[in-house]
Symmetry: C2
Subunit: 300 residues, 2 copies
């Protein structure tokens, strides 16, 4: 009977009976919240995020809202603005039934800053990477054009200094504001910055120069608008370089995890063993297996 009221599938309010168990995480900066709860006895995760303020509805908001004065001081005044609800929606995602894995995924995790000496790398981190045998088959698929071939922006096929440049999954390529590309090297034996020595300088310089050139050609974005860096720890142990737009505060571009490619090159030029011997700092999430290894070794 309800169906005749709306042409499209207007839903009943499925959240009417939702019972909150706990807030998994939230961000007052991004105006979102992740909630674990129950929908009719089933576990559910509800994700809410306020929508961006759109220029095309500003005039309507100004004319149709009510304003509550909060504070006035000289030329400054602040208000609580109450807009018509159809001009101020909240994007809502419901996962139901949700598994324990879903709940865990959205749970806020504390991170801990780990101090890894060159010796710690040899005795803790390297054995951990080796025993985990993290698969990088998906990387090989890209390098061999067995997957994502149509996404490749640029390639240098040289086996020694060559690489493939393609958009990161996080970038939808719809606007240049949040440009995010990854350069994946053809060499298969470089796990991370820890493996780099002066013999890799030519490879790194090649990626730096040709990556910047390709981005200028394709997106008309000059090098001075780019942040080019590596992660340590990386999320997979096959050397890759991140290219993001400088004005975009990309996830993972913080000083605690990112290393500017230009700095890496300089450091290797002045000391071939810089990344073998240097103490490196990086954050690890509470549930990261590597963190447990550092704890077991009494290094945290």
């Amino acid at each position: 009977d309800d169906e005749k009221d709306g042409g499209e599938a207007e839903s009943d309010n499925v959240l009417f009976g939702f019972k909150t168990c706990s807030v998994l995480s939230d961000s007052s900066r991004e105006k979102n919240i992740f909630i674990h709860g129950k929908l009719a006895d089933q576990d559910a995760v509800v994700i809410m995020e306020k929508t961006p303020i759109r220029e095309d509805v500003l005039a309507e908001i100004f004319s149709d809202s009510s304003l509550k004065l909060e504070m006035r001081n000289d030329i400054y005044s602040t208000y609580r603005l109450q807009a018509p609800s159809h001009l101020n929606e909240i994007k809502t995602t419901v996962v139901c039934p949700a598994t324990e894995k879903h709940v865990k995924k959205y749970q806020r995790q504390e991170s801990f800053l780990v101090e890894e000496t060159g010796k710690d790398y040899q005795s803790i981190t390297l054995p951990y990477i080796q025993e985990q045998c993290f698969s990088v088959q998906w990387v090989y698929n890209i390098l061999e054009k067995k997957a994502e071939a149509e996404r490749i922006i640029y390639e240098d096929q040289d086996p020694k200094v060559g690489f493939v440049l393609l958009p990161d999954f996080k970038w939808d390529q719809k606007q240049i504001d949040d440009l995010y590309l990854i350069a994946i090297v053809h060499q298969r034996d470089i796990r991370s910055v820890r493996d780099l020595t002066s013999e890799h300088i030519a490879l790194l310089q090649n990626i730096f120069q040709k990556g910047k050139d390709a981005i200028l050609q394709r997106y008309n974005l000059p090098a001075s608008q780019l942040r080019v860096y590596l992660h340590y720890q990386p999320s997979y142990y096959h050397l890759h370089v991140h290219f993001t737009k400088l004005s975009y505060q990309a996830p993972g571009c913080g000083v605690e995890r990112a290393h500017l490619l230009a700095d890496v090159i300089q450091n290797l030029q002045s000391d071939s063993d810089y990344y073998k011997n240097r103490t490196l700092y990086f954050p690890l999430r509470k549930d990261d297996g590597l963190l447990s290894k550092f704890k077991e070794a009494g290094r945290l």
Copy 2:
């Protein structure tokens, strides 16, 4: 006549006659917008930002909102949720009359990554800093307890390795989530990392250790939850160190501007002149006077 309707100063809708000239900037991530326009022939800037989603009104939102189904796929479904407007307010600030300076302040500015060799510092940056005579009187007021004395969290009074630790202006101290403190050194002749040599290692180690201890004592936050770093370029040329919560993506913590204090110490230990000779990279806004100097010198 309107006044009798509400006990407090409920305002008329001052934005009813607002005419938008241009959007100065906006952030779809932070759900805010900065607008330049006219209010009854006067220049005005209007700043709107959606409010965080609060846990204490979730139950009301779930029961009193309407939901429009957007997509359903397996266990996932997405909706546009329209909440009662008093549960979904927009924080609005009006600056009126606004000067050209206000308009410029909120205008989005492109940044450019500058490459500064040790020589560039001597020939471009240092003369610029000197001729500008940026006042740091407000810093001296803090060090001399002429201002903000009650805000000081910790002090080491030693003239050589001492410092004052206090909350950054950006932190309202209401929650520890976005903890942000600044350590300001008592020595007055260190402008930035460029002035640091191995003779400053004791000072830096003292700030690192005692700063971490003070934050543990006062906020019960261990060092593994902290990001401790310097800026280059700094916003004022009197040496200071930033302490922010690791899980808080603080403005200015990106790899293009921040330098981990632990790395700075290591670098000085291996080479006293590291920061004298090293090429450093940093972003400058389009309207920054220093950027013009780099352009004039043909370095951009």
